[in-house]
């Protein structure tokens, strides 16, 4: 419907827009998705991806994942790799919620054991994992300790007793981006973030109890390798980010870059949310160091939330987290820029890969993966809508086509305003309860905005990532209880 006429099909689930689509494009736009998904993308997605293609130093293409939708600056589901010498870093290519991401947790419990306790579990999780506007986390700390958090990432939380070394091994980058420098972070950002560790936030953030039914397992061997071993196994998935800390880091640097672009950097401003700085400049490096701090805060946030989940399950079932087999399958970021080595035209190059609403998906054998994922490839978590469920996938070698990036969720098809016009939060909550999904929400209006019909079909998105060679499906996970931020 909205796809431009110039879009050319390259393969079963990949399309291209040439550099003549928009003035100043340095590289083409590659769009991944089924014909249906691409046809239903908003026209703004293609225009925004074309804007990204004009950025200095962009390598090979500006990419749209199958769940892409209209964002600010980059489309959500946008990927761009920049040359570290000639390229830029853009807060709009990462998002305000730096290292917003997903964590999937396995339990040894089966659905028949959990079902009688579901209400108790969901209520306790809603109480112990604060969500919504102005929520405060349970971890109290001094400003100095917060400095340790943003330097050390999830390792800090584990040292403080909020997790295990195994959790770190199952977290992207071990739960720490190494380039963090707290001196590059404003006092305002620290003030906003220090009291928010252990909170979900709101919008599309959630904590969900899910079931891995036997008929949802697509690849039994990979599922077993990742920790989905028995039919009806109960899982916990949650989605949140760096809260006000990351939002303020992005706000601060976007503001500074807008001021400096036309004067200091001599860069044109096509869209103010594409504000950027040369990565090699002091300003660009400072933002990268601050972004790493926010990414680390986010890893800590998800780590202490996992600690809370362990406490709640342990209280409800009267057994230790170890007895319940509560272990992190994987934690993956989907709003970051990362320094990675990729092969481009037969040559290894160090690139700064922006992924905004896109997930890293390293293949089997990738040197940055811990030993246990060397054979399987990296677990990828695709968070669907709260009504339709989510997917666990795995990275594949053919993902080199997108610098090993894949989708991050279902992707919205409808604005929040429109979704709210179509359903009331209470009615949606009742409808979901009838379908066996118990929901606790901080805001009924916010719940209506997250209705399943406001998102693309998660099956279609997951299938498209596989058809495009970006990742392969492992298991579909069905929601039974949801704490919505």
């Amino acid at each position: 419907m909205a796809a431009p006429a110039q879009l050319v099909r390259l393969g079963p689930a990949s399309f291209e827009l040439g550099t003549d689509f928009f003035p100043g494009m340095r590289v083409p736009v590659r769009v991944f998705g089924s014909e249906k998904l691409v046809a239903e993308m908003d026209a703004q997605v293609f225009l925004q991806a074309a804007h990204v293609a004009t950025l200095p130093g962009i390598v090979r293409a500006s990419y749209c994942m199958p769940d892409a939708h209209w964002g600010y600056g980059f489309p959500i589901g946008g990927v761009a790799a920049m040359d570290v010498e000639s390229g830029v870093i853009s807060p709009g290519g990462i998002g305000f919620d730096i290292n917003c991401g997903m964590r999937l947790v396995a339990t040894r419990l089966l659905w028949p054991e959990v079902q009688p306790h579901l209400r108790e579990l969901v209520d306790a999780l809603a109480e112990r994992v604060p969500a919504g506007v102005g929520s405060r986390g349970f971890v109290r700390m001094t400003d100095e300790e917060f400095g340790d958090v943003i330097r050390q990432g999830a390792g800090w939380a584990v040292r403080e007793g909020y997790g295990t070394l195994d959790d770190l091994a199952h977290t992207e980058a071990g739960g720490c981006f190494s380039g963090a420098d707290p001196d590059c972070v404003s006092e305002q950002a620290r003030e906003r973030g220090r009291r928010q560790i252990g909170t979900l936030g709101s919008g599309n953030h959630y904590l969900e109890i899910q079931v891995a039914h036997a008929d949802g397992v697509r690849d039994a061997e990979l599922a077993r390798a990742f920790g989905i071993e028995r039919p009806e196994q109960v899982m916990v998935m949650f989605h949140c980010g760096s809260r006000g800390f990351g939002h303020q880091v992005a706000t601060d640097y976007l503001h500074d870059f807008l001021r400096d672009m036309p004067t200091k950097f001599g860069l044109p401003v096509i869209d103010r949310e594409l504000a950027c700085a040369p990565f090699a400049s002091r300003e660009g490096r400072d933002y990268y160091a601050a972004m790493c701090c926010a990414a680390n805060m986010s890893f800590v946030n998800r780590q202490v939330i996992l600690h809370r989940i362990r406490e709640v399950f342990s209280d409800v079932f009267g057994r230790s987290p170890e007895e319940l087999g509560i272990r992190c399958i994987y934690d993956v970021a989907h709003n970051t820029a990362k320094l990675e080595e990729h092969e481009v035209e037969g040559r290894k190059r160090r690139l700064l890969v922006h992924r905004k609403g896109a997930t890293r998906a390293f293949p089997p054998g990738h040197p940055e993966l811990p030993p246990e994922f060397r054979k399987t490839g990296q677990p990828v978590i695709l968070g669907g809508s709260m009504e339709t469920g989510s997917y666990l996938l795995a990275g594949v070698a053919s993902g080199a086509v997108s610098f090993f990036s894949t989708a991050h969720g279902s992707g919205r098809t409808m604005s929040r305003t429109k979704a709210r016009k179509l359903v009331r939060g209470r009615a949606l909550q009742d409808r979901m309860a009838e379908r066996g999904i118990l929901v606790r929400t901080a805001s009924l209006r916010g719940l209506a905005e997250e209705a399943g019909f406001a998102y693309k079909d998660v099956e279609e998105v997951a299938a498209a990532t596989e058809a495009a060679g970006l990742s392969r499906r492992v298991a579909h996970l069905v929601p039974v209880g949801n704490v919505k931020g």
Binding site: D42, Q44, H69, W70, G71, Y72, G73, I76, G95, F96, D97, G132, V133, G134, Q188, E191, R192, G193, Q196, G201, S202, G203, N204, R243, G244, H247, Q248, A250, T251, L254, H255, L258, R259, D271, R272, E273, A275, R412, T413, M414, S415, R416, T417, K418, R420, K421, A442, S443, R445, G446, E449, G485
Partner: protein, 158 residues
């Protein structure tokens, strides 16, 4: 969905009164158009839009605490962006939800704002909370003069 004139405080502000309505914008975010006869009213209307996203009923917010705010930016658009982002910051850092009680906006080569903000700390017992605005974005940000006064378009990341 029009929220124009939804807040009685905005209506009481007389000639400074403004209105806002939510319009289509980036799919996951909330975009609003604010309109007012004066620049002061425009900034007040933008604050009301932020509060309407944050609270189920912004009219319940009482002026129990005050904060002074002085900002300077190269132009009106960046000034509006900074102003709303200051409201977001105060919400997280001090748990304060504020609206301008007095506001003065001037342009003299640069754009300046001096405001007295009034409001109260978030009280979960009295305030039904809605969405956590992450930031005001610069996406398609616009402040323009119209025959009736001023109009602004701003997208909030939620």
């Amino acid at each position: 969905m029009s929220k124009a004139g939804a807040d009685p405080r905005a209506a009481r502000a007389g000639e400074r009164s403004g209105s806002f309505e939510f319009v289509e914008g980036p799919t996951g975010d909330l975009t609003f158009l604010a309109r007012a006869p004066t620049l002061e009213g425009l900034f007040a209307a933008a604050a009301e839009a932020f509060l309407a996203v944050t609270l189920e009923d912004a009219s319940l917010l009482e002026p129990r605490e005050q904060r002074e705010l002085a900002l300077e930016e190269p132009d009106l658009e960046l000034l509006l962006l900074r102003f709303v982002n200051e409201l977001v910051f105060l919400r997280d850092a001090s748990e304060l939800l504020l609206r301008p009680q007095r506001v003065r906006v001037t342009q003299d080569g640069v754009a300046r704002l001096a405001a007295t903000l009034a409001g109260e700390r978030i009280d979960r017992g009295r305030h039904a909370l809605r969405s956590d605005v992450k930031a005001a974005t610069a996406h398609a940000l616009r402040v323009s003069q119209t025959p009736e006064g001023w109009e602004a378009r701003l997208t909030l990341d939620v």
